[in-house]
C-alpha cells in the first residue's frame, strides 16, 4: 500500500469513527473543540467527515484562515501602492479580499499591476528582472512567513523588492479564543504544518495556562480522526496536555533553522485581525534591520496619505464572522450565509478565501444538521 492510501484507509477510518462514537456515547454530555486551520476544514468537508461526527461533538473552526483575518486597512494600503505605480505581487487568495473601497482585483481591472505568485522566491526573480519598485504583499501564518523571511536573508536581495507584511502568528489568536469566557472551547486541534515550524512544545505553556488540551494533527482523514479521538479522550479525562498526532512532520522543538530565520526577519507586534478585533502579539512585523525592504518604511508617506484606519471588525453590521472565528457561532447561524453573503459576493471575511469556513461550508453544502453531527440515518 502506498503512503497516501495508508492515510485514507477506509477500514481504519471507520474504526476511528467508531471509537469517536463510543467515546461520545460514554461521555453523556456535549463536547466542543476547535481547530485553527482552513486546511483542516477543507479536509473535513472534502472527505465528508463532518456529517459522520458523533452526536454531541461540535468541531468549530477558529481563526485559521490568514486571508480572512487580513484587516481591510492593510488591503487599502496595498491598493494605494498599486495605484501609485508599484508592481504588486501576492498569493492568489488575496486578490478578491475587499478593503474599504474595493479589492486588489478591482485595482487590477482599473489598470494597476497586480500579479499572483505561488512561491516566495518568484518575488526575488521578478524584482531582479524589473526596474520599478516591486511590492510583495505577503500574507499567511508562520509557515508562509518563514518563506518570506528566507528570501530577505538571501544573497543579493534586489534593492527594488519591498515586503508589505500581513503575516500573522496563529498561537496569538488561540490565546484570544481561550481567554474569551463565552466560547466554551474544551480542546484545540492545532495545525500540523504550522507546528512543523514551531514544534509542539510551543503549546505546553498554553495548555498549562488555560488547562485545555492541544492535539497537533495532520491533514489526511486518518490524521484528523485519530487527532479528534485523542483530543476527546483528553477532554473527557480532564487532561490538560499536548499530544503530537502528526509525528511524521512535527517534533517537539520544531524546525529550529526555520524559526531562527523567521525571527531574524520578523518580530511579534500587536494588531487588528479582521472580524476578531485586537490581537496582542499576533502580527509578524519586519524588524528595523530590514527597513530597506520594508514597504511600510519605504512608502511611509504614500501610505500615510491613504487615509485613517477603520475600527477593527467594522464589517457589515449583520456579519457574524467574528463570532464564528472565535467559536461562538457556526456559519449556518448567520442570516447572511448563502443569502446575501456568497462566494461571488462575499460580505464577511470567512466567505472570501477558499480557506474560510463559510466558503468551505457553502461549497461543500454543509448544513445545520451536520453541525450537531446527527446527519447519518
Amino acid at each position: 500500500m502506498s503512503a497516501p492510501l495508508q492515510f485514507r484507509d477506509v477500514a481504519r477510518g471507520r474504526a476511528l469513527q467508531a471509537r469517536l462514537d463510543a467515546l461520545m456515547a460514554g461521555a453523556g454530555r456535549p463536547v466542543t473543540v476547535m481547530h485553527v486551520c482552513g486546511s483542516h476544514e477543507q479536509a473535513i468537508a472534502r472527505f465528508g467527515l463532518r456529517a459522520r461526527f458523533p452526536e454531541g461533538l461540535a468541531v468549530q473552526m477558529g481563526p485559521g484562515c490568514p486571508v480572512c483575518v487580513t484587516d481591510a486597512p492593510q488591503i487599502d494600503a496595498c491598493i494605494a501602492l498599486a495605484e501609485q505605480g508599484a508592481r504588486i505581487l501576492t498569493y492568489g487568495d488575496m486578490l478578491r479580499v475587499p478593503g474599504q473601497a474595493g479589492s486588489l482585483e478591482d485595482a487590477r481591472a482599473a489598470g494597476a499591476r497586480v500579479e499572483v505568485i505561488y512561491a516566495a522566491t518568484q518575488a526575488v526573480d521578478i524584482a531582479r528582472a524589473a526596474g520599478e519598485p516591486v511590492v510583495f504583499f505577503a500574507t499567511g501564518f508562520e509557515t508562509t512567513a518563514v518563506a518570506t523571511a528566507s528570501i530577505l536573508l538571501g544573497p543579493d536581495v534586489p534593492p527594488n523588492l519591498f515586503v508589505l507584511s500581513a503575516h500573522k502568528w496563529v498561537p496569538a489568536a488561540m490565546e484570544v479564543v481561550a481567554r474569551d469566557p463565552e466560547t466554551g472551547i474544551e480542546g484545540y486541534l492545532a495545525a500540523g504544518h504550522a507546528a512543523t515550524i514551531t514544534g509542539y512544545g510551543l503549546f505546553q505553556p498554553f495548555v498549562e495556562r488555560h488547562r485545555r488540551p492541544v492535539v497537533v494533527a495532520g491533514f489526511e482523514p486518518l490524521d484528523i480522526l485519530s487527532g479528534l479521538v485523542r483530543l476527546v479522550e483528553h477532554v473527557l479525562a480532564g487532561e490538560a496536555k499536548v499530544t503530537n498526532a502528526f509525528p511524521r512532520c512535527v517534533s517537539r522543538e520544531g524546525n529550529q533553522r526555520a524559526l531562527e530565520v523567521l525571527f531574524r526577519v520578523f518580530a511579534l507586534g500587536d494588531g487588528d485581525w479582521r472580524g476578531i478585533a485586537h490581537v496582542p502579539e499576533g502580527e509578524l512585523r519586519l524588524r528595523p534591520e530590514l527597513a530597506a525592504h520594508d514597504a511600510e518604511v519605504h512608502f511611509a508617506a504614500a501610505l500615510g496619505a491613504a487615509g485613517p484606519r477603520l475600527a477593527p471588525g467594522a464589517d457589515a453590521a449583520d456579519c457574524r464572522c467574528g463570532a464564528i472565528m472565535t467559536g461562538r457561532a457556526q456559519p449556518t447561524d448567520c442570516a447572511l450565509f448563502g443569502a446575501r453573503c456568497r462566494p461571488e459576493s462575499p460580505v464577511g471575511a470567512c466567505m472570501i478565501s477558499t480557506e474560510g469556513v463559510c466558503r468551505i461550508w457553502h461549497e461543500h453544502g454543509v448544513g445545520p444538521r451536520a453541525v450537531v453531527g446527527s446527519a447519518r440515518a
Binding site: 495508508q6 481504519r12 486518518l222 517537539r252
Partner: protein
C-alpha cells in the same frame, strides 16, 4: 496559499531541489529545511520552500498512532508529551 504539499526529491542542485509532486515537477528552495535531503527523500513543501524532511521512521510512528487510537483508552500512546497518570 497555506497549503503544505508532500513531494519526493528527484535531484538536488545546491540549495535548490527538483521535487516530484505526483508527476508535477517543481524547483523547491532548501534554505530552511530542517536536515539535509537527497534524491528519493520525501519533503513537506510550503510556498516553494521545503520545511521538513519526512523520515521513514516518522512515517511508521504516525501509522502506529492510528493503530493506537482505534484501541479503547490505551494506557500510553505514541505522541504523548507529558505523562500524566490516569485516575
Amino acid at each position: 496559499m497555506c497549503l503544505g504539499v508532500p513531494g519526493q526529491v528527484v535531484e538536488v542542485m545546491g540549495t535548490v531541489a527538483l521535487v516530484d509532486f505526483c508527476g508535477v515537477r517543481r524547483k523547491v528552495a532548501l534554505d530552511i529545511v530542517d536536515e539535509p535531503v537527497g534524491p528519493g527523500d520525501h519533503v513537506l513543501v510550503h510556498v516553494g520552500f521545503a520545511i521538513r524532511r519526512i523520515a521513514p521512521e516518522d512515517l511508521a510512528e504516525t501509522l502506529a498512532f492510528f493503530e493506537a487510537m482505534t484501541e479503547a483508552m490505551p494506557e500510553t500512546t505514541p505522541g504523548d508529551d507529558t505523562e500524566v497518570p490516569r485516575s
